[in-house]
C-alpha cells in the first residue's frame, strides 16, 4: 500500500493532519498527489516528514528547514557565521565586538567602550568649543 489518505498519513507518522497541511503550505512538503477528493500521499511524504522531524530534533526551525530543503543556504563547506555587535561609539568610530562572548567579558568590554566613548565625546566638545571661540 503506497497511497495514503491524509488521515492515514497522520496516523502512521504521528504528525497531526493540521500540522501536515501547515508544512505543505510552508513548502516543506510537496502537495498531495492528486487534487480534490482523490487527494493522496505517497512514500515521499512519509520520508519528507521523517526528515523534518530529524532536522527539528537538531534544533532547526521550520523556516530554516524550508531554506535547506529549497537548497538555498547554508551550503556545506561555508564557514559557520559568528555574530558581532557594532558599536558606533562616535560618529566617525565604530568598534566591533563578538556578540557570543561570555557575559562577564561583554560587561568588561562595554565598560571600556563607555570610557572610550566619553573620551571621544570630550574631544569633540573641545573641538566645537574651539570653533565657537573662533566665531
Amino acid at each position: 500500500m503506497t497511497e495514503l489518505t491524509l488521515a492515514e498519513l497522520a496516523e502512521q507518522t504521528g504528525v497531526p493532519e493540521r500540522t501536515i497541511r501547515y508544512y505543505i503550505a510552508r513548502g516543506l512538503l510537496p502537495p498531495p498527489l492528486r487534487a480534490g477528493r482523490a487527494a493522496c500521499y505517497g512514500p515521499e511524504h512519509r520520508q519528507a516528514l521523517e526528515r523534518i522531524r530529524r532536522l527539528q530534533a537538531k534544533g532547526l526551525t521550520l523556516a530554516e528547514i524550508a531554506r535547506r530543503l529549497a537548497g538555498e543556504a547554508p551550503r556545506d563547506g561555508l564557514p559557520k557565521p559568528s555574530p558581532w555587535w557594532s558599536y558606533p561609539v562616535a560618529e566617525d568610530v565604530v568598534v566591533w565586538v563578538r556578540a557570543d562572548a561570555a557575559p562577564w567579558r561583554l560587561k568588561q568590554v562595554r565598560e571600556a567602550l563607555l570610557d572610550l566613548a566619553a573620551r571621544l565625546r570630550t574631544n569633540q566638545q573641545e573641538d566645537e568649543n574651539d570653533l565657537d571661540a573662533g566665531d
Binding site: 487534487a35 521550520l62 523556516a63 557594532s86 556578540a99 567602550l113
Partner: protein, 783 residues
C-alpha cells in the same frame, strides 16, 4: 528573504508602505461585563480571505487568568452555527472530517500554559466569517477595586527546548517541542505591529461599591458612568494594534464587602462572598524572612528590568530591623547576593544595592531554578519569596508543580505589557501567596510596595469557612487559607436552590482565634448563571495548572495525571466549559462545498509586546539580550553577513525609560533614602531628626498614615525613629506634635519637599512649629 517564504505570503505588510493588507484575520473586538469576582466576555474575530483558494487560518492567543472558553458561534452569509463541546480527540476528528468534505470547520482547542488555537478551515476566497467566542475569566481583586487584564497579544516565551528564529526580517517565530506541547502553533511575532489586525473593545463594569475611577494604564479609553456602581469603557482611538494587553483599573470609593448570589438555569443557587482584608484585623509587625527573586533574563531587557530593579530597591528600603532577607537574580544561571539570609543592617542593604546595580538582563528564563535556590535559602525557617518577573516562560505547569513541592509561599510581581498574568496568578495562589503586576508605563511604587507590605505578614491565618442553614451548600474552590492586607478573601459556593443561611468564617490574627458570620440569601437573580460559569472557569484553570506533560515520574505519576485528566473532563461536562480535555468544534455545510480540496494553512501574526525587545528573542537565534546601558551607543548590526539583518525596528525604550524615571514620585526617592533605623540620613541626630520630620510631613501631605496608603511602612518607621531620637525640649515638643498629627491622619500645609531638598536648616523647626500652632488652633489640642 527566501523565495518560498515570500511566495507564500507569510510576511505581514506594513502600513508605512501603503501596500494592500492581506490578512486572514482582520479584526478582533472585545465586549463583555466585568464583575468584582470575574468577567463574562465575548470576543468577535472577523476573518476574510483574499487568497485565490480556500485557506485554513490559525489564530493563537493566551487565556486571561482563571479563564475557560464556553462556546462560539460561527456566522457568515446564510449561516450561523453554534459550537459543540467534545472530548479533544473527537473534536479534532469532527473538524478534520468536516474539512475533508469541504465544509467550513472551526475548532477552538486549549493547550498548555492556557494557549488557545482557534482554527478556521476552508474559508473561501472573498468570504467573510465571524467567530463570536465566549470566555469566562477572573480579575485581580483588591480591597478598593479591581484590575482586569485581557491579552491582545501573546508574549513570546522562553523554553529550553524551543526552536526560535526569524522566519523573515522582522518576523519571529517560536516552535515548541511536540512531545511536550502537542501540535500547538504559536503566532508569528511582528516587530512592526502597524499592519496587523485591528483591535477594539467596549466593556461594562459593575463594581460592588460606588465607583471612584475607571482607567487604563495600557490604552486610551473613554469612560461613561451610568450610575454610581456601573460604567462602560471603550477604546478612545478609532483603532489600535495588538501589541499589548488591555489593562483596566477600577477603583471604588470604599472597600466593598458583600455577597453576589442568584440561581443558575438548572435552578441551583450560586454565590460569591467578598470580605475585604481590613475586616480580619491589623497586620502584625513581627519580623519576617523574605527572599527577593529577580528575573534578569533577556526578555526583561530595557524598561522591564529597570522597573524591576527600582521596585526591588524600594522594597529593600521598606524592610525593618529584625527582618532578614536574601536576594537572588536568575537567568539560566542563579546568582545570589549572599548564600544565606542576612540581617537588615545598613551594610547589608548597601551591599544588596550594589548587587542590584550589577544586574543586567541577558540569558534564558530558568524560573524553577531561581525559586528552588530561594527555597533552599529559606529552608526550614519559614518565610516568603517575592518574585519579580515578566513570567515569559513556557511549560509553566512544571514550574508550579516544583514550586508547590518546595512548600514556600510565593508572591509575584508581574512586569510587562503582556506578562503571563494567568501563570503568575496561579503560581501565587497555588503556593498561598498574592500576585500583582505592573505595566511598562506605570510607577513601580504602588504595586510593588503595596504587595511587599503584605509579604510575610498575613492579616488572617488558618482561615476556615463553614455553612449553616444553606441546604446542599458546597464551598468550592477551596478558599485561601490566609489573607493579606490589600487583597480581599473571596469565597465561592453553591446551594440546592433559593435558600438562606449563614457562612461562618474563622481565622487567627495575632495568635488569637476570631470569627465572623455572613448572612447569605440566594434570590432568583440571573447572576447565578454567570457566577456558576466564573466558578467553573476558576476550577478548570486550577486543575489545568496541575497537569504535566509528559508525566515526569513513573506509574504513580501517570495514574495521578490520568485522575487529573478525568477530573478536568468532568468539570468541562458539568460546567459546559472547554478545557485541556474538551474542545469546541463546529462544522458548517455550505451549498457548493467541494470535498477533498486542500486549504492553504496560514497563521495570524501578532505584534511583539511593546516593551519586549524583538532581538531579545529572535536575534542570532539565541535568547540573549542586546547590550544594554548605552543610550547613545546603540549597536547596529551590519547587513553584509548572512546571520544579520537590517534593523527596521527601533524600539524607543530609552524614551520610555527616561519618562519612567521622571514620573517616579519624589516620595519614592524619599522612601529609598530612609536608613535602616528608620530615620533620614544627616550629619548628626538633630539634622537627621529634622530631615525625618520633613520627610514625614511629605508623606502625610499625600494622605499616607501609619495604617493607610502605600507608604505606611515608611511612615511607621519615621515615627518610630522620631520617638526615640534624642532632642532638646522644644524640638521634642515639635516632633511629638507631628507624630500626634500623623496618628490622627492629619497634615500641615507647606512645601516640605522643597525645604528638605534645599537641605534642612534650623529655621525649618520654626516653620514646622508655626504650622503646628495654626493646626493646633484649628483642632484645639495638639501638644
Amino acid at each position: 528573504m527566501p523565495a518560498t517564504e515570500a511566495a507564500l505570503g507569510f510576511a505581514p505588510r506594513r502600513a508605512a508602505t501603503g501596500e494592500e493588507l492581506d490578512l486572514a484575520m482582520q479584526s478582533l473586538w472585545l465586549a463583555g461585563r466585568i464583575l468584582p469576582v470575574g468577567a463574562h466576555l465575548v470576543v468577535r474575530h472577523t476573518f476574510r480571505s483574499q487568497e485565490q483558494k480556500p485557506v485554513e487560518v490559525i489564530y493563537s492567543f493566551a487565556l486571561p487568568r482563571d479563564a475557560a472558553l464556553r462556546r462560539f458561534r460561527v456566522s457568515g452569509e446564510g449561516f450561523s452555527v453554534r459550537s459543540e463541546l467534545k472530548p479533544v480527540g473527537e473534536a479534532v476528528r469532527a473538524y478534520e472530517e468536516g474539512l475533508e468534505e469541504g465544509h467550513l470547520a472551526t475548532l477552538a482547542r486549549t493547550y498548555r500554559d492556557g494557549i488557545v488555537n482557534l482554527t478556521l478551515g476552508n474559508l473561501r476566497p472573498g468570504e467573510t466569517v465571524t467567530v463570536l467566542l465566549e470566555i469566562l475569566c477572573g480579575v485581580e481583586l483588591h480591597d478598593d477595586g479591581l484590575r482586569f487584564r485581557f491579552p491582545f497579544t501573546l508574549a513570546p516565551s522562553y523554553h529550553a527546548r524551543a526552536r526560535v528564529g526569524e522566519a523573515a526580517p522582522g518576523v519571529g517565530e517560536i516552535e515548541l517541542p511536540e512531545d511536550e506541547f502537542g501540535d500547538v502553533i504559536l503566532p508569528r511575532w511582528a516587530a512592526d505591529a502597524s499592519g496587523l489586525h485591528e483591535i477594539g473593545f467596549r466593556l461594562t463594569v459593575e463594581a460592588g461599591a460606588e465607583l471612584a475611577s475607571v482607567g487604563s494604564p495600557s490604552h486610551a479609553v473613554d469612560v461613561r458612568l451610568e450610575n454610581g456602581r456601573r460604567g462602560s469603557v471603550m477604546l478612545a482611538r478609532e483603532r489600535d494594534v495588538p501589541n499589548r494587553d488591555l489593562v483596566l483599573d477600577v477603583r471604588t470609593r470604599e472597600a466593598w464587602s458583600g455577597v453576589l448570589a442568584g440561581l443558575c438555569r438548572q435552578g441551583k443557587g450560586h454565590f460569591a462572598v467578598v470580605i475585604p482584608s481590613a475586616r480580619f484585623g491589623a497586620r502584625s509587625e513581627e519580623p519576617r524572612s523574605v527572599v527577593f527573586v529577580l528575573d534578569r533574563s533577556g526578555s526583561m531587557s530595557g524598561a522591564p528590568i529597570a522597573q524591576a530593579l527600582k521596585a526591588c530597591e524600594a522594597c529593600l528600603a521598606a524592610l525593618t530591623p529584625g527582618d532578614r532577607f536574601g536576594l537572588i537574580a536568575f537567568d539560566d544561571q542563579v546568582e545570589a547576593f549572599r548564600s544565606h539570609l542576612v540581617e537588615c543592617s545598613r551594610e547589608n542593604r548597601d551591599g544588596a544595592r550594589e548587587f542590584l546595580a550589577s544586574v543586567d538582563a541577558r540569558g534564558g528564563t530558568e524560573l524553577a531554578a531561581g525559586l528552588e535556590a530561594a527555597a533552599r535559602m529559606l529552608h526550614g525557617g519559614g518565610g516568603d519569596i517575592f518574585l519579580l518577573t515578566d513570567g515569559q516562560v513556557s511549560g509553566t505547569e512544571s514550574i508550579i508543580a516544583r514550586a508547590c513541592a518546595a512548600g514556600i509561599r510565593i508572591h509575584c510581581l508581574g512586569i510587562g505589557s503582556a506578562s503571563q498574568d494567568r501563570f503568575l496568578a496561579l503560581l501565587a495562589r497555588e503556593t498561598g501567596g498574592v500576585s500583582r503586576f505592573l505595566t511598562p508605563r506605570e510607577r513601580v511604587d504602588r504595586g510593588a510596595l503595596e504587595l511587599f507590605a503584605a509579604v510575610g505578614r498575613p492579616v488572617a491565618r488558618d482561615v476556615t469557612v463553614e455553612t449553616d442553614g444553606l441546604p446542599g451548600a458546597r464551598i468550592e474552590p477551596e478558599p485561601s487559607r490566609q489573607v493579606f492586607s490589600g487583597t480581599p478573601l473571596v469565597i465561592f459556593g453553591r446551594t440546592r436552590g433559593a435558600v438562606r443561611g449563614t457562612l461562618r468564617v474563622g481565622w487567627v490574627n495575632s495568635g488569637e482565634r476570631r470569627a465572623m458570620e455572613i448572612p447569605v440569601e440566594i434570590g432568583s437573580d440571573k447572576l447565578g448563571e454567570t457566577l456558576r460559569l466564573i466558578r467553573g472557569a476558576r476550577l478548570i484553570s486550577d486543575w489545568e495548572s496541575r497537569t504535566e506533560e509528559p508525566p515526569q515520574g513513573g506509574a504513580l505519576d501517570r495514574r495521578r495525571q490520568r485522575r487529573i485528566q478525568e477530573r478536568l473532563r468532568r468539570l468541562s461536562e458539568t460546567y459546559g466549559l472547554a478545557s485541556r480535555e474538551m474542545a469546541l468544534v463546529a462544522v458548517v455545510e455550505r451549498p457548493g462545498d467541494q470535498p477533498g480540496e486542500l486549504p492553504k494553512t496560514t497563521v495570524v501574526p501578532v505584534g511583539m509586546p511593546e516593551d519586549v525587545e524583538f532581538d531579545s528573542y529572535f536575534a542570532a537565534r539565541a535568547i540573549c539580550a542586546r547590550p544594554r546601558g548605552f543610550p547613545s551607543l546603540r549597536p547596529a548590526r551590519p547587513a553584509a553577513l548572512p546571520s544579520f539583518r537590517s534593523r527596521a525596528f527601533q524600539p524607543e525604550y530609552h524614551f520610555i525609560h527616561a519618562a519612567m524615571k521622571a514620573s517616579l514620585d519624589p516620595l519614592l526617592e524619599l522612601a529609598l533614602a530612609i536608613e535602616p533605623d528608620g530615620g533620614m540620613p544627616g550629619a548628626d541626630d538633630e539634622e537627621r531628626a529634622l530631615a525625618s520630620l520633613l520627610a514625614l510631613l511629605c508623606f502625610l501631605a499625600v494622605g499616607s498614615t501609619e495604617s493607610s496608603g502605600i507608604f505606611r511602612p515608611h511612615v511607621r518607621r519615621l515615627v518610630s525613629f522620631l520617638e526615640n531620637v534624642s532632642l532638646d525640649e522644644r524640638q521634642r515638643r515639635i516632633a511629638d506634635g507631628v507624630i500626634e498629627l500623623a496618628r490622627r491622619g492629619g497634615s500641615l500645609p507647606g512645601n516640605w519637599w522643597d525645604l528638605l531638598k534645599q537641605g534642612p536648616s534650623p529655621e525649618c523647626w520654626d516653620r514646622i512649629a508655626e504650622g503646628l500652632a495654626k493646626e493646633g488652633e484649628r483642632l484645639g489640642d495638639l501638644p
